[in-house]
């Protein structure tokens, strides 16, 4: 099993979710995060003084899935999240040793 983690632009969440659901992935966990990267921040003026916003809002998606799904998921995320404008984000994959469904105690791929 693998954990696919994606950092995307907030307004692409619906598209990514739809792409994943189409793929048969119907569970994920979403976190509001802030990103620092190439996109850079922006400078704002408040009462005559400037200030930089270095961190821009992003959405993090975590999906645990069977190995065979990983490439499909990465693809689907990319499809849904891509705008071509700097700051689209990243997807990375990390290994998962095991997973348990709390409600039933099912473990392994059954728990996904």
């Amino acid at each position: 099993m693998k954990l696919v983690t994606a950092i995307i632009k907030p307004h692409r969440l619906t598209e990514v979710k739809d792409a994943l659901v189409e793929l048969g992935v119907n569970a994920m966990t979403v976190t509001e995060v802030k990103g620092f990267g190439r996109q850079g921040g922006h400078t704002e003026t408040y009462r005559g003084a400037e200030y930089r916003i270095d961190f821009v809002p992003k959405i993090r998606i975590d999906i645990v899935a069977g190995e065979e799904m990983v490439d499909l998921i990465v693809n689907a995320v990319q499809q849904g999240a891509q705008t071509g404008v700097i700051g689209d984000g990243k997807v990375w994959v990390t290994p998962v040793d095991s997973m348990v469904r709390i409600r039933t105690g099912d473990s392994g791929v059954d728990a996904v």
Binding site: P10, H11, P57
Partner: protein, 493 residues
């Protein structure tokens, strides 16, 4: 020709005279002969007398005889205090609109309310007031010309009593700001600030004053055989705002995401219901200046008007809540707040003419109307985040027409008792009311439509897609409405 204007705040010479001599009115036999001290009985207005009054500022500046001073001062003071309450409504509008829209646009909507008040008052002082009241009558009472740039603002109270120009301006300026501010709600979350600034200036300087002239300014509608009655402005103020809001929302188009591709309306929840309810409560409070102050004098009718206002507003809130409960299974809070306002808007026109129980009825109807109207415009894909069109346009119209049905007392505009259909008054009042409602609708729709189209084709009316998505606060004003410590991340999931 300043003096020839037969305007709302000038007291008919005869009435003043009788009061100055401290004689009780000669024939008093019930409500049918109610003498309204402040409100102009336009039909009996002696234009010559009024001219004289305006032509002799020196006399007007003399001190009032002390014997009458107190009641004249009280008239002015009360109308001024009522004006303060009406200005307080600006805070109410700002909060209702802010609460029903998203956090990313909250500073923008507050700014718009601040600015249509500030710029609106200046526009009205420089131009609108002259067109509405002090300017000489043009085109048979369609608008006024002259009296611009605060002429008369530092004059004393007229020698024979009544309101000073300062008092009248103060009260009317508060109303003008109200008319303009209604529009901002319907056009929220997508309008360029610059464009908003321009059109709220034009509405306050020109469109609204012309409507004023027709009616309270003693223009053509006040000069009909069966004169038009709109005591405190269901049509004159609220529907002007409401219909202009409709044109604005229509020309602007809906917010991104408001309608699915198949046209199904989607909810875009407002970010703060407590702001909405607090705003509605402040508006409720302000209405006790709006309606009772429109008596334009401190007399016993003030309190009756207040009670009717109270009853209609409360009935609107309760009934709108029940209607939503029946329709959707749960009582929506923001619609209950809209219901309160709907009842208040509806009673604004008939408040001087109807009985207390009828006030409740008028409020109840408004409470139902607003619920269905909000759905109706939503289905039409006219995206009005705050329900301004329904509350102010639709319920304002209902209130204006209700006079034709229910008028029982003479509100000093009607000139007779029992003018309503249900009191045997026949159709004449109803047809005058209908005339007004229709002419007014056409006028506002056309003029505001031209205005918005002109802006759209010059400086542009709508922000870019990127700005709308990011939020107007940072894009238009340079910093977010809520600090990063209050709203850690942005756009909700």
């Amino acid at each position: 020709m300043v003096g020839s204007a037969a305007s709302r705040f000038q007291r008919p010479f005869v009435a003043s005279a009788s009061r100055l001599t401290d004689n009780p009115p000669t024939s008093v036999s019930g409500p049918s002969t109610r003498r309204r001290r402040g409100r102009l009985a336009l039909a009996v207005l002696s234009v010559a007398a009024v001219s004289a009054l305006w032509a002799s500022p020196a006399a007007a500046q003399s001190d009032l005889p002390d014997g009458v001073a107190s009641s004249v001062i009280l008239d002015n003071l009360w109308v001024f205090i009522a004006g303060v309450l009406v200005f307080f409504m600006q805070a109410g509008f700002a909060l209702v609109e802010a609460g029903l829209t998203r956090a990313k646009n909250v500073a923008n909507i507050m700014m718009k309310n601040l600015m249509d008040m500030s710029a609106g008052v200046l526009a009205f002082a420089l131009f609108g007031f002259g067109i509405a009241f002090t300017g000489g009558e043009q085109l048979g009472g369609w608008f006024g010309w002259g009296g611009f740039f605060m002429s008369g603002f530092d004059d004393a109270i007229p020698a024979e009593g009544g309101l000073s120009t300062a008092t009248t301006f103060f009260f009317q300026a508060a109303f003008a700001a109200t008319a303009a501010t209604i529009v901002s709600g319907a056009m929220a979350e997508r309008t360029k600030f610059k464009s908003y600034f321009v059109y709220s200036f034009v509405i306050t300087a020109l469109i609204y004053p012309i409507v004023l002239r027709w009616t309270w300014g003693g223009g053509w509608l006040a000069q009909l055989d069966t004169p038009f009655s709109d005591f405190a402005g269901s049509t004159i103020v609220h529907a002007t705002g409401g219909w202009a809001a409709m044109m604005g929302a229509l020309i602007l188009g809906p917010r991104i995401g408001k309608y699915a591709d198949d046209g199904t309306p989607r909810a875009i929840p407002g970010h703060s219901i407590p702001f909405v309810v607090l705003g509605a409560m402040i508006l409720f409070i302000g209405w006790f200046g709006f309606n009772p102050g429109s008596e334009l004098a401190a007399d016993e009718f003030v309190m009756q008007i207040a009670v009717r206002t109270l009853l209609a507003g409360c009935a609107g809130a309760v009934v709108a809540m029940l209607a939503v409960w029946l329709l959707d299974g749960k009582p929506d809070v923001s619609m209950a707040a809209n219901g309160l306002l709907a009842g208040l808007v509806a009673i604004t026109a008939p408040v001087g003419a109807v009985t207390s129980p009828v006030s409740i009825l008028i409020g109840m109807v408004a409470g139902v109307l607003v619920v269905f109207s909000v759905r109706f415009f939503d289905r039409l894909r006219i995206d009005d985040p705050v329900g301004a069109i329904s509350v102010h346009g639709v319920c304002g119209t209902w209130g204006t027409l209700s006079i034709g049905l229910f008028a029982r007392f003479d509100d000093a505009f009607l000139g007779r008792e029992k003018a309503g259909l249900f009191y045997g008054g026949g159709f004449s009042q109803m047809s005058t009311q209908l005339t007004m409602v229709i002419v007014h609708f056409i006028f506002v729709v056309v003029t505001s439509g031209i205005l918005f189209m002109a802006i759209k084709n010059t400086i542009g009316l709508r922000v870019t897609r990127e700005e709308e998505v990011a939020g107007l606060d940072t894009e238009e004003h340079g910093s977010p409405g809520y600090g990063p410590d209050l709203v850690p991340a942005t756009a909700g999931i």
